[in-house]
């Protein structure tokens, strides 16, 4: 059979690590995948070296607009570790509340995008409508819907008072109801099952070998979670379950993410009801003594690692960030082998790389004749929906 090269990308500008996927396809089946990284590089790590620690926080917040709080928490924790600061208990709880709200907003966003990629636009609209509740809560607390700027070195910048606390608790219950509805929907709706069940599975041993993190690893039955394994902020004091699934396929990832929303709601409720009294910040010096620290945070997509080295001045000597998508991309590449061209959008979307709605070009090059045709991401998505609509693979 003729082999085709199918480049997807090279631009995937939604993340810190935009990726390009080169698929080698035989008919409809993908036989090999090559992943290329490094597009859309802004030079944030270098820019950090010429800014002071407080300015760095705002810059690092903009690595990714979806897990902005995870990045600033990781950086602030690193700097606090070098300084030997212990932040107040109330600040720890507020960090947890914001982090979990961010997780809910990220997972609902993912559910919507996944719905869109499989041609289930009603799910997309429903999920994004309910996501507005979370954004309202975040706006209530921080004053901004995205990029909350809550963290500072030595604590948090805004408080949650009694009135806000009650208002937030009232908004969470309807949300938990909706999440139950989505869990039923995803596990029983034939459209979802046809596109998610047994597609591109990653078995547990492969998930470990490929270094997956976060929901992608947990969907393969691996119980890794920085919140439990290496508790930071107030996670050591808050009871919660690590949601896993033995399935390993795309349905497993959806079940894990939806389960995590339920857990996040419980964590936020517990944290709000047990919010300790006290100050929000401890005073942090402007200059940081020489030293280095590695800080880990469970971002919505998995383990986010920040390395900070200080040289005694008011700006860091080196900042290094390893965002979770980089760790998960290789599992996508492996699990793609043997999958169908029609599955490309949903399999790539399944690790939540925010491939949402930018126009991307796909070039179909027939290797023998050298002829090529150009497809956009949207056309590929429609192709996938049509292909399944015609009853292939049933």
């Amino acid at each position: 059979m003729t082999k085709y090269n199918l480049p997807v990308g090279p631009q995937h500008p939604a993340l810190k690590e935009p990726a390009s996927f080169w698929f080698k396809v035989e008919g409809e089946v993908i036989v090999d995948v090559d992943i290329r990284l490094g597009y859309n590089h802004r030079g944030i790590e270098k820019a950090c070296e010429s800014r002071n620690y407080i300015q760095c926080l705002y810059l690092l917040e903009r690595i990714c607009g979806i897990c902005s709080h995870a990045h600033t928490t990781a950086f602030a924790q690193g700097v606090e570790e070098i300084l030997g600061l212990e932040i107040p208990a109330r600040a720890k709880y507020i960090r947890v509340i914001i982090a979990e709200l961010e997780r809910i907003h990220s997972h609902l966003l993912w559910l919507g995008v996944a719905g869109h990629e499989i041609g289930f636009d009603t799910l997309f609209m429903y999920a994004w409508r309910d996501r507005e509740t979370v954004l309202d809560i975040l706006e209530l607390i921080s004053g901004n819907r995205v990029n909350y700027a809550m963290n500072t070195i030595g604590g948090v910048r805004r408080d949650i008072d009694q009135a806000k606390r009650e208002q937030i608790l009232g908004m969470l219950d309807p949300l938990a109801e909706r999440v139950k509805f989505y869990t039923d929907l995803v596990t029983s709706e034939p459209t979802c099952l046809a596109r998610l069940e047994n597609v591109a599975p990653v078995p547990a041993d492969k998930a470990v070998a490929l270094g997956t993190v976060g929901p992608t690893a947990r969907a393969s039955g691996i119980k890794v979670d920085v919140r439990r394994d290496d508790p930071y902020a107030a996670y050591a004091e808050i009871p919660f379950e690590v949601i896993t699934s033995e399935r390993g396929d795309l349905l497993g990832r959806a079940i894990v993410r939806l389960g995590e929303i339920g857990e996040s709601v419980k964590i936020i409720k517990y944290a709000l009801q047990n919010l300790p009294e006290g100050p929000l910040t401890v005073k942090a010096p402007r200059k940081v003594a020489a030293g280095e620290a590695v800080s880990r945070v469970e971002a919505p997509r998995g383990e986010d690692i920040h390395y900070v080295r200080a040289d005694g001045s008011d700006h860091p000597e080196r900042v290094k960030v390893r965002a979770p998508t980089l760790a998960n991309l290789f599992a996508v590449g492996e699990s793609m082998k043997g999958a169908y061209v029609a599955d490309i959008p949903i399999v790539i979307a399944s690790i939540d790389p925010c491939f949402s709605c930018t126009d991307r070009m796909i070039e179909l090059v027939q290797s023998r004749t050298g002829t090529s045709s150009v497809m956009t991401w949207e056309e590929l998505r429609e192709y996938g929906i049509r292909w399944y609509g015609h009853g292939h693979r049933s």
Binding site: P13, A14, S68, D359
Partner: protein, 155 residues
């Protein structure tokens, strides 16, 4: 005659194409948010299209990085004239927090002419809707034309 028809259809149902030239995702999700039930930009006849060849308005988010510069120009050239560019977010307006980074050229207007600027980090969906509606008013001729109008043919 034909120009009048084109203008009328553009004003009553502008088609958008969204391009991320290096944004952090925040403005992108807010752009998509405007299409979802809470804000529903579609009630103004606005449709998000997948390809620049169908679009009247290019919605750009993020600073322009070295890697995306050529692509942005290519996408702009693929759009049929008359075409309009909206820069969403502080980064797209001026380069924002990434101003001065070695891999960033600056705002979208460093590469292609821009017709409307919507500041904010990220720009709120309300602000994006307001910006698009103001641009439509400008197209209709209700507002004085901005400086970028004549430079549109520059590229």
């Amino acid at each position: 005659m034909l120009e009048k028809l084109v203008k009328r259809s553009q004003v009553s149902s502008p088609w958008l194409v969204h391009f991320n030239s290096g944004a952090c995702n925040a403005c992108d999700i807010e752009v998509v948010d405007t299409l979802t039930p809470r804000f529903d930009l579609e009630r103004f006849g606005v449709l998000l299209k997948a390809t620049p060849r169908h679009a009247d308005i290019l919605v750009c988010t993020g600073p322009v990085t070295r890697q995306t510069k050529d692509r942005l120009i290519r996408i702009y050239r693929q759009m049929p004239a008359p075409r309009f560019v909206v820069a969403v977010g502080s980064c797209a307006c001026t380069g924002g927090v990434f101003h001065g980074c070695y891999c960033v050229y600056g705002g979208v207007d460093a590469v292609i002419p821009v017709d409307a600027y919507i500041p904010g980090c990220p720009a709120r969906p309300d602000a994006i809707i307001d910006g698009v509606v103001k641009l439509l008013a400008k197209l209709r001729g209700d507002a004085p034309p901005c400086a970028a109008k004549n430079s549109r043919e520059a590229i």
